[in-house]
Each structure stands twice: as C-alpha cells, then as structure tokens.
C-alpha cells in the first residue's frame, strides 16, 4: 500500500537534505553545463565542435545517470551505514514508500539538472522543438533504467566502496558508453543495448525530430528491460542493514 501523502512528505524531506549537499551540485549542475560548453565551443571531440542538439542530448543523459545512479547509490549507501534505513523501518512508512520516495527524489534531481541545462542551452542559441516537451518522460525512464542498479550496489557493498565504484562506473559510462565519444559501428551496435546510449538515442531524437522510429522503440525497450532487471536484482539482494 502506498499513501501519497506519506510519499510526498518523505520525498520532499530527502530531496531538500540531498540538494543541500555541495557534491550533488557539482555532479548534477556544474559538470553537465561544463560538458555543454566544452562540446559546443571547442573542437577537441571529433575534429569540429558539436552541434547544440547533440550536446544537449549528451548532457541530459549524463545528468540523468548522475542522479539516477551515482548520486542515488551514494545517498542510499550512506543512509544504510548510518542505520537511517533501519530507522525508516521504525516509522509508519512502508518499504514500498521508502524506495519509491528515493527514486522520486533522484528523478526530481535529474529534472532540476535538466532545467539548468535547458536554460544554458537557450543561451547558446538553441530553439526547442515541440517534441522536446516529451523529454521529462524520457528522463524518468532513464532514472528507472539505472536506479535498480544503484540500489543493488548500495544495498550490498559498504558505503566507501559504493562511493568509489559508482563514481568509477559514472566516468566509464561518460568515456566509453557512447555518450560523449562515438565509436566504430560494431562497438556502437553493442552499446545500443546498454542504458547510456539507449537513453541518449531517445532524448536526442525528441530534441531534433521527434517520432518513434525503430531505433527509438528499440532504445525504449532496452531501458525498460534494464530497469526491470536492476530492480529485480535489488529486491533480491538488498540488505537493509
């Protein structure tokens, strides 16, 4: 059973606490906006500077993974270490509400980061298309596809290790996930079956042309499949203390 009132109180409380954390600001606002400026203004990537639309899709993908995976994993791991999760078990919140509030909180972080990125993109001369208004839905799907793995990591490994591992995975995703750098066609075909590039495909399409072509449908299926897998694994292996 989920009480929407309890869920909203819990989500707000944790969101405000997490948003005050300065590392979060770095991870979710400053790094994505820096990537946006670097990609559009320099020619270090791919010989010439990238168009604003591709840069925007890249940055939104990065901040969604930062919120839905890295920052969620770290926050949950430290809550587990301080026995905050056990404490929540003593309140009137159900387990479903505890988990749902965390996922919602990281979705809110991703959406806030998205708003900052949009504002920066507008300054850089981007004009939004009608299809761009579907982006919040894709950000939510992106958070769902990776948040199960955030719980899996946070619920099985001690907090300091989660800090290191989740940041390492984040950097690997940036470098080799097909998000910032592009690779040859055979490697890219493989990457299309992983959440980062699938998310970039979905977001990129809605920024430029919109529409649900075969490649977008495949990417949506990939995101849903990883999301289900991650949450199933987490519910099987998560340890509350």
């Amino acid at each position: 059973m989920i009480s929407l009132r309890r869920l909203s109180i819990q989500t707000r409380w944790e969101f405000v606490l997490n948003a005050r954390n300065s590392e979060q600001a770095l991870l979710l606002v400053i790094i994505p906006i820096l990537i946006l400026f670097v990609m559009t203004s320099t020619s270090i990537i791919g010989g010439e500077s990238t168009g604003i639309e591709v840069a925007l899709a890249t940055v939104l993908t990065v901040s969604t993974i930062a919120a839905g995976f890295t920052s969620l994993a770290i926050a949950t791991a430290f809550e587990r270490r301080s026995d905050t999760l056990v404490f929540l078990g003593t309140t009137n919140l159900t387990r479903m509400e505890v988990v749902a509030s965390k996922s919602l909180g990281s979705l809110l972080l991703a959406l806030f980061a998205g708003i900052f990125t949009f504002i920066a993109a507008l300054f850089l001369g981007w004009t939004p298309s009608a299809a761009a208004f579907s982006i919040p839905i894709w950000i939510a799907l992106g958070v769902f596809s990776v948040s199960g793995f955030a719980y899996l990591l946070a619920g099985t490994v001690r907090a300091e290790a989660v800090l290191a591992i989740s940041n390492a995975i984040f950097v690997i995703v940036l470098m080799f996930g097909g998000v910032i750098f592009t690779f040859g066609s055979s490697f890219t075909t493989m990457l299309e079956f992983l959440p980062p590039l699938a998310l970039k495909t979905v977001i990129g399409t809605s920024i430029s042309t919109g529409g649900l072509g075969a490649n977008v449908m495949q990417a949506i299926a990939v995101l849903i499949a990883w999301g289900i897998l991650g949450h199933l694994l987490a519910s099987r292996f998560f340890k509350w203390r």
Binding site: M1, S3, I9, N21, T94
Partner: protein, 319 residues
C-alpha cells in the same frame, strides 16, 4: 464476580510472543521466549549479548522470527505495517539517522509523517518535546553528543502516540546522573499506563525505570517479576589480590549460597539467608589457607527484585 485485573483485556494483550526464536548465522539471538505485555512499564535487563535488542526489534517487526511469533493486539507486526497502521514506536540502540539534518527539522518532518496516520488520535507538539528533551540546538545530528542523540531518539519515538513504546538502551553511554535524568524525564512525559518496554544492561537502572522486571540471559528469560516469587538476598563482597579458584570454595558452602567474581579481584557471595559468622569464617578460612590477602569486606542485605536479578545475571555470566 469482581474484575481482578484493573487493566482492560484488550490492552493486556498489547504484546504477546509465543515460543519466539530468532537465530543468527554466527550464534546468539533468542530462544523460545513466551511473554505477554499489558499496560504499564517493563524493564528488560540483561548483559550485553543477552538478546535484549533482538527481542525488542522482533516485537517491533524489524526482524523476522526463525520460529514462533509476535502478536500486537492479536496480529503480527507485519500485517499492521502492510496496512500502514503504526502500533509500535521504537528508539533503536544503534545508528544516527539523517546525520546532516538538524533535530528540530527532523522532529517536524516526523510529526508531519505521523500526522498522516488515521490511527493516531494525537501527535506530540514538536516544541514541547524540544523543550522537554533540551534539543533546542542548531547542531547537525552527526555532531550531537551521546546524551543529545539518545534524547533525540527518545523524542522521535514519542512523537507518534503509538499504543506500544519501546526504548532499546536509551541510556547507553550516559553517566549515572545522565541516566537518572533521562529516566525521570521519560517518566514525566510517558503515561504510566502506556505499554512501554525499556531495556538496559545496568542493574541500578531498574530502580529508576520501575514497573515489571524481566531478565534475559543467553537469549532466554531467566526472571520475570510477574511470575517469579520475589525474595530478598544477602551479600558479602570482598577483594583479593590472589586469583581465587571458586570451585572448591563453592563445595564448602551451603547449597543456597553462590559466589562469583564480579570484577577483576572483586568477589561476591550471595545467600538467601542472612550472612552469619559461620559463613564469613568459612570464606575467610578458605582464603587464609591459600595465602590470599582479603580486604574491603562488605556485608549487605539487598531486598527484592534487584538482588534476585543480580544473582541470576551473575550466574549467567559465570558459567
């Protein structure tokens, strides 16, 4: 016929455990505990590792029984929780929830959370609790002192007026004065009729807590003041610099007399009967024969529950 118990039947069955067993992979836990808690205060006393936290956390629904069950008003903790009905509030011994939050914001968040619950007639006023528990501080929870943290956990458990209240070692880490102060505070804010379970490993706390006393040793109930006859006991304690072999001395003493090493070099003789000259000379002669120098001899009578529990816990820790 007149009603024997002044407590209404439904509140008498606030908590019932039936052959409750909780096992851990590395040993410990509790074995076959059957208890009923009605209205009023109960102190659960036992040495570290006796199973107090396991028992209390299982009653609160935080641990699953290996066998047996727990009923709160006739239903399992899990079935109440599934419906979002909050029957039991527990202050845990370990942990520092939401380390980056501040006490006032933390309590206000909990008040809002509990106020959503139809089950609660009332929710405590945060300001009253902040004043009563001296928590008007802007320090983050991670920087609170041990005493402040214990008071915050108690206040957090008190915000929801749940029918059942459990405080697991609320005075852990406090000095004797701090312990007395916290128990006095709890007595003033928690109604005496509310079903309240408080655990401690410190015998002296029993007097401050008051009410029923249950002693645990090695995962089992070894004493319950509701069902065990309460007797007085007589003590003689002394110090010896030589380590005493207690087994031969035990053989020389009467059946109802026990002897145990309470602390390094500090021994205690306990008897159901007054300590007489014959008993004292038996002990002294024994020490003299092995050349042990005895000092600091005290003889005292300890009345009631405290002495009884003390004897049981000493036996439990000795074997």
């Amino acid at each position: 016929m007149t009603e024997i118990s002044p407590v209404p039947r439904e509140s008498y069955l606030a908590v019932a455990t039936h052959d409750l067993t909780v096992k851990y992979p590395d040993g410990g836990g509790i074995t076959d505990i059957s208890l009923i808690f009605g209205a009023g205060r109960t102190a659960i006393v036992g040495n570290n590792g006796a199973g107090k936290s396991t028992l209390l956390e299982t009653i609160a629904g935080l641990r699953e029984p290996s066998s047996g069950n727990v009923e709160l008003f006739g239903r399992t903790p899990g079935s109440w929780r599934a419906e979002g009905i909050h029957q039991v509030a527990i202050a845990l011994q370990d942990g520092r929830p939401y380390p980056s939050a501040r006490p006032q914001a933390f309590l206000e968040y909990l008040r809002k959370l509990y106020a959503t619950d139809q089950n609660h007639d009332s929710v405590r006023d945060v300001n009253v609790l902040l004043d009563a528990f001296a928590l008007r501080t802007t320090t983050m929870i991670k920087n609170l002192s041990g005493g402040e943290l214990q008071r915050l956990k108690c206040a957090a458990a008190l915000i929801a007026d749940t029918p059942i209240l459990i405080l697991d070692e609320p005075t852990a880490g406090l000095d004797p004065q701090g312990r007395r102060d916290l128990y006095a505070l709890l007595a003033s804010v928690v109604p005496a009729k509310r079903t309240t379970l408080i655990s401690t490993h410190i015998l002296e706390d029993l007097e401050s807590i008051g009410g029923r006393v249950i002693a645990l040793a090695k995962g089992s109930v070894v004493f319950d003041s509701d069902s065990n006859p309460v007797t007085s006991a007589f003590h003689m304690s002394f110090a010896s610099r030589v380590n005493l072999q207690l087994e031969p001395l035990r053989n020389a003493l009467a059946e109802d007399v026990t002897i145990a090493e309470r602390a390094q070099g500090r021994y205690q003789v306990r008897s159901e009967n007054p300590i007489d000259a014959a008993l004292i000379s038996t002990v002294m002669n024994f020490c003299a024969q092995i050349g042990a120098e005895v000092s600091d001899v005290h003889v005292s009578e300890r009345g009631g529950v405290l002495a009884q529990v003390e004897g049981l816990l000493l036996e439990g820790g000795d074997s």
